[in-house]
């Protein structure tokens, strides 16, 4: 990753008042120092300590799962988290949605010239804490610096590697008519926490981001139905997905398209916190399209829905899990919803960004 630096001759990084400058990305001593004193210090593990440009490791038996995710959130710090822990959770969750255990992460940073090193330290330490908590190691990485005005403080791309046990087939194209649709808890917390800080919308709220690593929850869900899944490939967990950008609506439309099925949701069963509902009302947004970072959607064979739901509710990250609808046969692949009001409508793909009402 870097050349060794003889620390005794080097003035230490000013992590209190210093700022990122172009030399931190130029491959010279300053970059080596940043990597050593900040990244290695925080992420410390044996593989990283070898200081190679790559990581070498063996994986436990099973199929290898890999996912990558870029993080460009604004603001960088928000109630309940920051871009650092988010960049760990995002990729860990993508790997976990295959039913896998995430093991290693790679992290790539694009820093904007002038970015305070103190903020970078906060972000990196938050990443390190999130990785430790999720029991994944950040084993390789990269740093680039772009000129001021060409970045938004810091962008982080993480890539995750994990392993899923043989015989577990969980994928977006496996939903079948009759399957139950479960969610792990109330929707829209992350998106509204971010929205509450946006410069032009700022409003006071107690909403905090739900950002969290979900592989522990997934493992509990797999445990609950492993036996039937081994016996019969039609049983158990069929699809898992975390409804991040675009929210629940987008995630369900993706699955419907992949699996060639329709869905019918029951609006009354979809959990949304009153504060999130109120903030959405206020801005003219629909919580079904608002991002989550610590929730998952599970599509489960009907005979196993109760067992999975019970396993979810026993886990601290899914105490409020519930069933919200059913997969139906529909060549048009519409996601429909029975409204609380008594009508029926489509829950469509999002067009562009959600926009507040103007009239």
């Amino acid at each position: 990753m870097s050349k060794p630096v003889k620390s005794g001759y080097v003035r230490p990084l000013d992590l209190k008042h210093g700022r990122v400058d172009l030399t931190h990305g130029s491959g010279g001593r300053a970059m080596a120092q940043l990597i050593e004193q900040l990244f290695h210090e925080a992420f410390g593990n044996e593989i990283l300590a070898q200081k190679n440009d790559m990581a070498t490791f063996a994986l436990p038996p099973g199929r290898v799962v890999m996912a990558t995710d870029s993080h460009v959130v604004s603001p960088l710090f928000f109630p309940g988290g920051d871009i650092g822990c988010l960049s760990v959770h995002g990729t860990v969750n993508d790997v976990a949605m295959a039913g896998a255990r995430p093991i290693y992460l790679a992290a790539s940073f694009i820093l904007e010239e002038g970015f305070p090193l103190a903020d970078l330290k906060r972000i990196v330490e938050s990443m390190a804490a999130a990785a430790r908590e999720a029991d994944v190691a950040i084993v390789t990485g990269d740093t680039k610096v772009v000129e001021q005005g060409k970045g938004d403080g810091v962008f982080i791309t993480t890539t995750g590697v994990g392993v899923v046990e043989e015989g577990l087939a969980i994928a977006g194209d496996r939903a079948r008519p009759g399957d139950r649709i479960l969610v792990s808890g109330p929707l829209g917390d992350h998106g509204m926490a971010i929205m509450s800080l946006r410069e032009s919308l700022a409003f006071a709220t107690e909403i905090v981001s739900d950002t969290a690593a979900l592989h522990g929850l997934v493992a509990c869900m797999v445990d609950a139905v492993r036996e039937p899944m081994r016996r019969d490939p039609a049983r158990g967990l069929r699809v898992l997905r975390d409804p991040t950008r675009g929210g629940l609506a987008t995630t369900l439309n993706e699955i419907a398209a992949q699996s060639g099925v329709g869905m019918l949701l029951d609006e009354a069963a979809i959990p949304v916190r009153p504060q999130v509902q109120a903030a959405c009302e206020f801005l003219g947004l629909d919580p079904l399209y608002v991002a989550n970072e610590g929730k998952l959607v599970a599509i489960v064979a009907p005979e196993d829905a109760d067992a999975v739901l019970a396993a979810m509710r026993a886990h601290p990250l899914a105490r409020d899990a519930c069933a919200i609808g059913e997969v139906i046969a529909d060549d048009n692949r519409f996601v429909q919803m029975q409204t609380k009001f008594g009508g029926r409508r489509i829950v469509d793909w999002l067009t562009g960004d959600q926009l507040p009402r103007i009239c």
Partner: protein, 380 residues
């Protein structure tokens, strides 16, 4: 949630629906226009029409500020951004309205135009304060609801002596549009659009009050019920309209008493009168030139009028020939009658403005209701 769920209660909705079904006369049909896009959106989103008897038909009106914006005005905004190189600030929906040469403000932004999405007139003003070396132009659109904030922004800019802030005023007037529909040949002479009454605007009426609609009730013999934007408001208003029709009454009734008075918000009205004056005519998409239907900035505030500051002229640009937005905005056609609907024209690639805003009739039908147009197999 307090004060919201109460207005979306399915059990109450079924009660009102049963009442409507019991009171409609078997020998007649009832055609009501909801003027506002806000109502169109609520009707589609909550599936209100599913609860109505077949005898009651809802016609979507032109009350969607983005939908009635003619192409020429959007071209003008694009020219400001790309040729005059100003910072152009406007509401989000406007960015996607298709303009000439395959452009939109969003595409102009991608070509290097400084186009900003804002949430309020105050944001545009703040942008101007923060960037004193940039010309900031607020492209203001909307009915009477968004007009007072624009007036306030102009007054504040004048008070602060802001030199780099100006406004393109596209504010339009609801009563003028209703009058235009009632005077249209389809309604008045040919009777191709049967119209038995209006659901009057919610937010607009909080500003202008219920009084302006009295003329339509008296002169054109059309009942008007002003309603809030919640689905139960709409259901209740439909019941009130059915009763007026059955009893032969043509009155202005107010279902939205929690927010609307007869006089409206006089303070806001005075503010608007101080900063704006009537335009002799203004082009509406779908309705064409409508006399005295829009506002311009008064001479006292001419320094903040971007049309004067940049010597802008609005050119008339014809709509796509196959686009039925005009007929849809007048209530003559339904979105599904348009050949382009859902094939060439989709929310991702809107040809007509009704497909742009979530309050537009086409976008609302595409997003929430298009499953009703195709045979869908439901059930496992």
């Amino acid at each position: 949630m307090k004060w919201i769920d109460e207005f979306r209660d399915g059990a109450v909705a079924r009660q009102i629906a049963a009442q409507i079904a019991a009171e409609v006369r078997p020998d007649r049909r009832y055609h009501f226009m909801e003027f506002c896009g806000g109502h169109t959106h609520a009707i589609s989103r909550y599936g209100v029409t599913d609860l109505l008897p077949d005898a009651v038909k809802m016609i979507h009106g032109p009350g969607c500020p983005v939908c009635v914006l003619p192409i020429g005005r959007v071209d003008l905004a694009i020219a400001l951004a790309l040729e005059h190189k100003v910072t152009l600030a406007t509401y989000g929906d406007v960015l996607r309205v298709p303009a000439s040469n395959g452009l939109s403000l969003l595409k102009a932004k991608a070509r290097g135009g400084d186009v900003r999405m804002i949430y309020s007139a105050a944001d545009a003003l703040e942008l101007a304060r923060r960037t004193p070396r940039r010309e900031v132009v607020f492209f203001a659109i909307g009915f009477e609801t968004t007009t007072p904030p624009t007036a306030l922004a102009i007054k504040q800019a004048a008070a602060e002596g802001l030199k780099n802030f100006s406004v393109v005023c596209n504010h339009v007037l609801t009563p003028a549009a209703i009058g235009n529909i009632l005077e249209s040949p389809e309604v008045r002479r040919f009777g191709t659009v049967p119209l038995d009454g209006f659901i009057g605007p919610a937010h607009v009426s909080t500003v202008i009050g219920s009084r302006p609609y009295e003329y339509f009730a008296e002169e054109y013999r059309k009942p008007v019920v002003i309603a809030g934007f919640e689905p139960l408001d709409v259901m209740q208003a439909i019941l009130m309209l059915v009763r007026q029709v059955n009893e032969g009454r043509c009155e202005v009734e107010n279902e939205f008493t929690r927010a609307v008075t007869r006089e409206g918000n006089v303070k806001a009205q005075n503010l608007v009168a101080e900063v704006f004056e009537l335009r002799k005519r203004f082009e509406w998409r779908g309705l064409g030139d409508v006399p005295y239907s829009a506002l311009a900035i008064r001479g006292d505030y001419a320094a903040f009028d971007a049309e004067k500051r940049f010597a802008l002229e609005t050119k008339k640009v014809a709509d796509n020939k196959a686009c039925e937005c005009g007929a849809i905005l007048r209530g003559v056609k339904h979105p599904r009658d348009c050949k382009l609907f859902g094939t060439v024209c989709t929310p991702e690639n809107p040809v007509g403005s009704c497909m742009v805003s979530s309050e537009g009739a086409c976008a609302a039908h595409f997003t929430y209701g298009r499953f009703k147009d195709v045979a869908v197999r439901v059930g496992a």
